[in-house]
């Protein structure tokens, strides 16, 4: 039987998805798909630190928001080109990740304590962004509407969709590459047993810092793209807990610690959310309540909860690794 390589699967999935705008020109559908892909990208970021690295962050909004605000402010206040702004925003997010990681991991924070501190950092960012003049305080920041390709603004949603799809596919290829390399093996080792990893020569602090920087950069890229798509950012959109929760949920529901997991999860979240809203009438928050229930069920019934999902992922990596 023919074995598809993982890289091949990613490419195939990307091509199939790319065909979507060719079969529909419904703005609702395209809009939903763009949003789902933004969540998928943010979740990909979360997955690097939380899935492969085993450090659960409840505050990834800190990175998403930094990317969103940086992208918006650079354009609105500094006149920087949109593409450059997005690149800088991604780097800025990565730096924030490095900083938070440096403070937290150097202090030896693990497990629940690390999770708590990420929550606190995200809240601090939100409060400051809501008050500081540079971010427009409570009014937020607007990117001027000027629909030209050079401004990264397009009349057709399809183009946005193709771009975000390409970004998501790129991160998937990257993660597959990491899985197959020393950094990935060491990151997983740190997740499984930090002391044993140290005894084998792994500089666990360095590995965790690299992971959180990459994780933050990816999520910041999602935030920057979000700003570019919606042209408006405020403190709740940027640093609100919604994105921390959705990035986490998407990854766990879709398959934590796997290449496809965050994307599956983001799509599943979208469809399940719509389904939930449909059958219960459009009451606000029903979809999130549904997600919460799903989270509990996944954790409860996946064999050994999160760990079981991780083991399955590792097993699949091992099997797929022999064919990639």
């Amino acid at each position: 039987m023919k074995h598809w390589s993982v890289y091949g699967s990613i490419g195939l999935a990307a091509v199939v998805f790319a065909a979507l705008p060719l079969v529909t020109d419904s703005n609702t559908v395209l809009n939903a798909m763009v949003t789902a892909m933004i969540i998928a990208l943010a979740a990909q970021g979360w997955n690097v630190l939380g899935g492969y690295g085993g450090q659960l962050s409840f505050g990834h909004a800190a990175f998403f928001g930094t990317g969103a605000y940086a992208d918006a402010i650079l354009q609105a206040s500094c006149g920087v080109n949109a593409y450059a702004a997005l690149a800088i925003a991604t780097a800025a997010g990565g730096l924030v990740g490095l900083a938070i990681g440096f403070l937290s991991f150097r202090a030896g924070l693990r497990g629940s304590y690390f999770t708590l501190v990420t929550l606190a950092f995200a809240e601090v960012f939100r409060i400051v962004a809501n008050a500081a003049p540079v971010t427009g305080a409570a009014s937020g920041t607007l990117i001027k509407l000027d629909v030209r390709a050079v401004n990264f603004q397009f009349a057709s949603r399809a183009i946005y969709f193709w771009i975000i799809l390409a970004l998501v596919a790129a991160t998937m290829l990257l993660m597959r590459g990491i899985e197959q390399r020393r950094f990935g093996a060491w990151l997983i080792a740190v997740r499984e047993n930090e002391d044993a990893a140290k005894a084998l020569g792994v500089d666990t602090l360095r590995v965790k810092l690299q992971a959180i920087t990459l994780s933050a950069a990816m999520t910041a890229l999602a935030g920057g793209f979000y700003a570019q798509y919606y042209l408006f950012v405020d403190s709740t959109i940027a640093y609100g807990s919604w994105i921390s929760v959705e990035a986490l949920l998407a990854t766990i529901i879709g398959g934590i610690g796997t290449v496809f997991g965050p994307v599956f999860g983001a799509l599943a979240l979208y469809f399940l959310g719509e389904f939930a809203k449909y059958i219960t009438g459009r009451a606000p928050g029903i979809d999130l309540a549904f997600y919460g229930t799903l989270l509990i069920l996944v954790v409860a019934f996946a064999r050994d909860g999160v760990q079981g999902l991780l083991s399955k992922a590792a097993g699949a990596v091992a099997r797929a690794g022999k064919s990639a």
């Binding site: 997740r191 499984e192 002391d195 991780l310 992922a313």
Partner: protein
């Protein structure tokens, strides 16, 4: 002991709260030698291991490895220099296969995946784990897990291997099977410092033995000398036991 000892521990002490767990212990391991560290439970042997491998920082004393003072180095730097250790309570990377477990160690010297996997297979062959390579580490028997601990450490190409009760929990035939693996290591230039309670292994493997009791080194020498030393007997069996044994009080008629 030759002047060119690979590992020299000098007057190392460690306090935990008000308890002096290791009290001015000194020992040396020569290159390519197998050295045993024995003593009753609670003597501080694993603490000493943690000090040598860098997981604890000593309150006083120094550790010199291959002429270099490593007292302040963190564990991963010591591993890079060539000190590998196993853990008394085995700690496999539960979510990974045996091959991937060993590969984590192999990556230290072989950054490329192909090289690391090749080394992992070679080490598995050395430790008799070839049949288990694709098995998930979480499902292994105790004996296989112990071998995995050993294999992972060996994959880092150490010059000094710290084995913390690697034989604990193995039945006699499993012990018999693993001894040749350990005996073969000095031939590859690997010195061993092993904490052990299984005296059969200590007697048959070790060139030198140190005895630790209540944090202090109370005897040192060849396995035969040490096991006959009255101080050692007393440490294990209690005060006055040595003289009672000598007086034949426990002798059968």
């Amino acid at each position: 002991m030759t002047a060119a000892a690979l590992l020299r521990v000098e007057a190392i002490s460690k306090w935990f709260g008000g308890l002096l767990v290791v009290d001015g212990a000194s020992l040396a391991v020569g290159p390519g030698r197998i050295t045993g560290l024995i003593g009753p439970n609670g003597a501080g042997k694993t603490t000493l291991f943690n000090l040598v491998s860098g997981f604890f920082a000593p309150d006083s004393g120094t550790i010199v490895f291959d002429g270099r003072d490593i007292t302040a180095l963190p564990p991963h730097r010591r591993a890079a220099l060539g000190i590998a250790r196993t853990f008394q309570i085995v700690q496999p990377f539960a979510g990974l296969s045996v091959r991937d477990n060993i590969a984590v160690g192999a990556y230290l010297r072989s950054p490329r995946r192909a090289d690391a996997l090749a080394r992992a297979e070679a080490v598995a062959d050395l430790t008799g784990l070839t049949g288990y390579l694709d098995a998930p580490a979480a499902g292994l028997t105790v004996s296989a897990r112990k071998r995995l601990e050993l294999a992972r450490a060996l994959a880092t190409e150490p010059r000094l291997l710290l084995l913390d009760e690697v034989l604990a929990g193995l039945n006699p035939s499993e012990v018999r099977d693993i001894l040749p693996v350990m005996r073969a290591l000095p031939e590859q230039g690997i010195a061993i410092l092993m904490v052990e309670h299984v005296m059969q292994a200590v007697m048959s493997l070790c060139d030198d033995v140190y005895v630790l009791a209540e944090g202090r080194l109370i005897a040192q020498g060849s396995p035969g000398d040490v096991t006959r030393d009255p101080l050692v007997v007393e440490a294990y069996l209690g005060h006055g036991a040595a003289s009672r044994i000598a007086a034949g009080i426990f002798a059968r008629d």
